[in-house]
């Protein structure tokens, strides 16, 4: 036991790797500060590599945050909705932008809102789905983008009036952009023949 000093040294290194990184307290950016001042429960995530401010928004707060951003902070253009696969769960991300008509003097900003999707059971084909509130009432431009995210990642946007598949055929089973999407899945159309 005494001639092997290496295992005790290795063990803490391994546990350090396995342990999740310490939650760093990220100070809110200028947009996050204004949202927090309005009493909205958001979590700042810092800036991404291109300098856009990222904000984590709880699902129930998403419509209120979007409304605030649109009416008071002048983010009038929804650029895109992205669905993210986080392994066990999924998230929906939206990029909002200011246009030059709203901020003629300043440089238009882009803000990124991330929302964790909550589990919503299974769909008719037995695939897990999750749900996020739709941004359609605030930004009508979310229509096709949310349909695409639903089609490829299986996120149900609650409140979307016409949530159907858009890129894949209507009879398609499963959500192809998921990491665990397999061609051998017996539920897929061509494997049932």
């Amino acid at each position: 036991m005494s001639e092997t000093p290496t295992p005790p040294e290795k063990a803490p290194a391994a546990t350090e790797k396995a342990a999740p990184p310490e939650p760093k307290v990220i100070p809110p950016g200028p947009i996050g500060q204004q949202l927090q001042a309005a009493g909205l429960a958001i979590t700042p995530l810092g800036n991404d590599a291109t300098g856009h401010e990222m904000i984590d928004v709880p699902p129930e707060q998403l419509p209120a945050v979007a409304q605030k951003l649109k009416t008071e902070l002048k983010f009038d253009l929804l650029v895109c909705v992205t669905a993210l696969d986080l392994g066990a769960s999924r998230a929906s991300m939206v990029h909002l932008m200011q246009t030059v008509a709203q901020v003629p003097e300043a440089k238009p900003l882009t803000v990124v809102l991330k929302t964790a999707a909550t589990p919503a059971g299974q769909d008719a084909d037995g695939y897990d789905v999750s749900k996020v509130p739709s941004l359609m009432p605030v930004y009508p431009a979310a229509d096709w983008h949310e349909r695409e995210a639903f089609d490829l990642m299986g996120i149900i946007y609650e409140g979307h009036p016409n949530l159907r598949r858009i890129l894949m055929p209507d009879a398609w089973m499963g959500y192809p952009l998921r990491k665990n999407y397999k061609e051998e899945d017996p539920r897929l159309v061509w494997n049932r023949r």
Binding site: D48, A49, T50, H52, M54, D76, L77, L78, V79, C80, T82, L84, D85, M93, H95, M97, T99, V100, A101, K107, P108, T110, V112, P140, A141, D143, W144, H145, E148, L152, I166, L167, M168, P169, P176, L177, K179
Partner: protein, 436 residues
């Protein structure tokens, strides 16, 4: 330009007033008409790709329209997750095949942002010149096919003649006419060939005259005016409600242009205007794109003049002089200090997932980035999430055409069916970018 004052014959047929009927003859005006569902596409010569429109018509008036897309879906985003950063790059030419320099810029920009790479000034200028030339070829194809849809066939041949001139320039730089794969992380594949800048400047002179020729044929043509003025009006608020950007939004009176508002590359060092129109109809979108030809030429001329290093032949002279100077300095040092100069050898052994692999692998540190670029069709965005492995965790494409197409039902409902191709053509939609 105020189109209402143009001197042109009126072609209004005044359909609202019924002709005078002889006495005793009654005229039943309210005939019962049934709605008819017409399926347009997916194979239709004017859809520029594969697009299906389920259209409900009442007589010739469009009552409802539903675009069906996805026929060209090639799962570009899924492909990224199965390939390394370099392997994925040649495939993104096909996201938007008419202006693929923009795709590459957005993708390469994401990688550079995450890796925190600095791009040399000369590379930025090379990228700017190639992107603006690409805008010209893209608008030229739109110009030709849009007028072909309206029934004018000769502009198509003129546009393709000029497009070929630019393709020859591209071929000399990248080796390919349309699928360039020229940008690299932190740079470009190769420097410009000798004398290329001179040929570009020559092209800008000839093309400026040709834009005048196009305008002489088309801009005040009474048939074009009657088919475009006042049709397919999309206001600024409509553009916001559907995410429409680019020339379509600028035709609604808002100078929203990322090159001006959020300058990337070196656009902040270039003087140019953002052309806008206020009438927001098909004709306004035509005028904006014609004005963008001229602005692109302005940008290219300035960029060629301001590019660090200038033309390649000049740069090669400077390089040769520097190399000679360095060699002399080395020889001097060797003489005096007896130093030994050993060439550094690249070690190709890298560690991937704990294993030593004898491969040159490019790994990107964890991080995320979103680069957007003002493509000829509007905002083209690329979102990338890297997790420290040689493959991206997630790549998302925001195609301008995807949003631009979504406004088509709004612009068409209430209009006549024969106006479909004028309005759809004016949106400048490219189907591979819609379906990705």
């Amino acid at each position: 330009m105020d189109t209402t004052t143009l001197d042109r014959p009126s072609m209004d047929l005044n359909l609202s007033e019924s002709p005078a009927l002889p006495e005793g003859v009654t005229y039943e005006r309210d005939l019962d008409t049934d709605d008819m569902v017409v399926n347009i596409g997916p194979q239709h010569p004017s859809t520029h790709g594969v697009l299906r429109l389920i259209t409900t018509l009442n007589g010739e008036v469009v009552k409802d329209m539903e675009p069906v897309i996805g026929y060209l879906h090639r799962s570009k985003e899924k492909m990224a997750e199965a390939r390394s950063y370099f392997q994925y790059q040649p495939t993104i030419d096909r996201v938007e095949y008419l202006s693929s320099f923009y795709d590459h810029y957005a993708y390469v920009g994401c990688v550079e942002a995450i890796a925190n790479m600095k791009v040399p000034k000369r590379v930025q200028y090379i990228r700017m010149i190639t992107m603006e030339l690409n805008r010209i070829t893209s608008h030229l194809l739109w110009f030709g096919t849009f007028l072909l849809d309206l029934g004018a066939s000769s502009p198509f041949f003129y546009a393709f003649r000029d497009r070929e001139d630019v393709f020859k320039l591209f071929e000399d730089v990248t080796g390919a006419r349309m699928m360039y794969n020229y940008y690299r992380f932190g740079g470009v594949n190769a420097d410009l060939p000798e004398g290329w800048i001179g040929r570009v400047l020559k092209f800008t002179d000839t093309f400026a005259k040709r834009v005048d020729e196009y305008e002489a044929i088309v801009t005040k043509n009474p048939i074009v005016l009657d088919r475009t003025v006042g049709h397919g009006i999309m206001t600024y608020q409509d553009c916001l409600d559907y995410g429409v950007t680019g020339p379509n939004m600028r035709a609604a009176g808002v100078a929203q242009d990322l090159r001006k508002t959020n300058p990337y590359c070196s656009y902040d060092e270039i003087e140019f205007d953002v052309p806008t129109q206020t009438s927001a109809d098909v004709y306004a979108r035509y005028l904006v794109r014609i004005a963008e030809f001229r602005e692109s030429l302005r940008i290219i001329r300035q960029a060629c003049k301001q590019m660090p290093g200038g033309d390649t032949s000049e740069l090669n002279r400077i390089k040769a002089a520097l190399a000679e100077k360095n060699a002399q300095a080395k020889a001097e040092a060797a003489k005096t200090e007896g130093a030994k100069f050993v060439e550094e050898k690249l070690n190709p052994e890298f560690e991937i997932w704990g294993q030593k692999v004898n491969l040159l692998t490019f790994k990107l540190q964890a991080g995320e980035a979103y680069t957007q670029v003002e493509s000829p069709r509007g905002i083209l965005g690329c979102y990338m999430q890297a997790d420290g492995t040689p493959k991206p965790q997630r790549v998302k494409w925001r195609g301008a055409s995807f949003s631009n197409l979504s406004i088509l039902p709004k612009a068409m409902i209430g209009n006549l069916y024969p106006d479909l191709m004028a309005i759809f053509g004016s949106l400048d939609v490219i189907m591979p970018e819609v379906d990705r």
